[in-house]
């Protein structure tokens, strides 16, 4: 079994109103050195062992988990016990 940790982030240049709101809140808590906040998603997908796991995860991300128009993704694959 493999544990795939997938990180989905907004592409550079895509406005993130949520991130901006959080940035403003951090400023109001006087963290004045916060220059930017971007909010993304984290997913854990458990996959049964197979030969082409990376290929499969890429496809899952392109087809559904991320929207390639506005989002980038990256992932790590770990041995799961």
């Amino acid at each position: 079994m493999r544990k795939v940790k997938i990180y989905i982030t907004l592409k550079e240049g895509v406005l993130d109103p949520q991130g901006k709101a959080v940035q403003n809140s951090l400023h109001s808590l006087e963290y004045n050195n916060v220059a930017d906040v971007r909010i993304g998603k984290y997913m854990e997908v458990m996959l049964e062992d197979s030969d082409n796991i990376e290929q499969q995860v890429d496809k899952m991300c392109d087809q559904l988990l991320a929207n390639p128009v506005i989002e980038d993704y990256s992932y790590t694959i770990e041995e799961a016990v």
């Binding site: 895509v14 406005l15 109103p17 949520q18 709101a21 087809q63 559904l64 988990l65 929207n67 128009v69 506005i70």
Partner: protein, 227 residues
């Protein structure tokens, strides 16, 4: 003319759409559950607003992987009119029938009020009852209506006359005030505002009714030529 209103779990404007066709336009419509849908018999397909699958993952994302989607794709290729309103627009974007994507509204607020739209292209099967640059009042009701596309896509939309409606006072941060776009062939329209909620003067405006009348006019013209 026979319209299919595709109902997903979480659709909530399906009955408004049904009403717009049956009572407003005076044509035939069926509410078809997405799992049992056979769309082959219908002349036009309507994807209603709402919150399909609770907007999980991204608005419209889960619905865009359901079985009925292949039939919608086939109908689009066959040139049938396909209209996606609000969540229906989001589904069309997620399934890639229309270019671009939706982001949360710029100020993160769910907005529900009338907007003035400008008709940017009256030469489509959805807008032939309007005139170019005409201003119409149509209600909006969305949280994720901030249309986004990259520069190259925007240029293509512009060059192909795919921008159908724009907001007069952009409420959500959409690129170039975009409220509705068509595909390149012009038979798939996605729009955030709700024309189906503006078909009866009882609610203040009938500006939305002409969109459905346009579809009917186009369909009748096409079939008159064939006959």
């Amino acid at each position: 003319m026979k319209f299919a209103v595709v109902v997903f779990p979480g659709s909530n404007c399906d009955r408004d759409m049904f009403y717009a066709i049956t009572e407003g336009l005076g044509e035939q419509a069926d509410l078809v559950w997405y799992q049992e849908a056979d769309l082959s018999d219908y002349d036009a397909i309507l994807l209603p607003g709402g919150f399909s699958y609770g907007d999980y993952l991204r608005s419209g994302a889960i619905a865009s992987t359901s079985g009925v989607i292949d039939q919608i794709r086939e109908a689009a290729e066959a040139g049938k009119p396909i209209l996606g309103v609000c969540n229906g627009f989001q589904v069309l974007l997620e399934m890639g029938l229309l270019p671009g994507a939706m982001l949360p509204n710029k100020h993160l607020k769910f907005m529900c009020h009338y907007e003035t739209l400008t008709v940017e292209n009256s030469d489509t099967m959805f807008t032939n009852h309007y005139s170019d640059q005409e201003e119409i009042d149509i209600p909006i009701a969305h949280g994720d209506g901030n249309y986004y596309c990259d520069e190259a896509t925007f240029k293509k939309l512009k060059a192909n006359n795919q921008i159908t409606f724009t907001y007069k006072n952009n409420p959500n941060g959409s690129v170039a005030d975009i409220a509705g776009i068509t595909n390149e062939q012009g038979n798939v329209l996605g729009m955030m505002p709700h024309p189906e909620r503006a078909v009866d003067s009882l609610v203040g405006t009938k500006d939305g009714l002409r969109l459905f009348q346009s579809i009917l006019t186009h369909w009748r013209d096409k079939h008159a030529i064939k006959a």
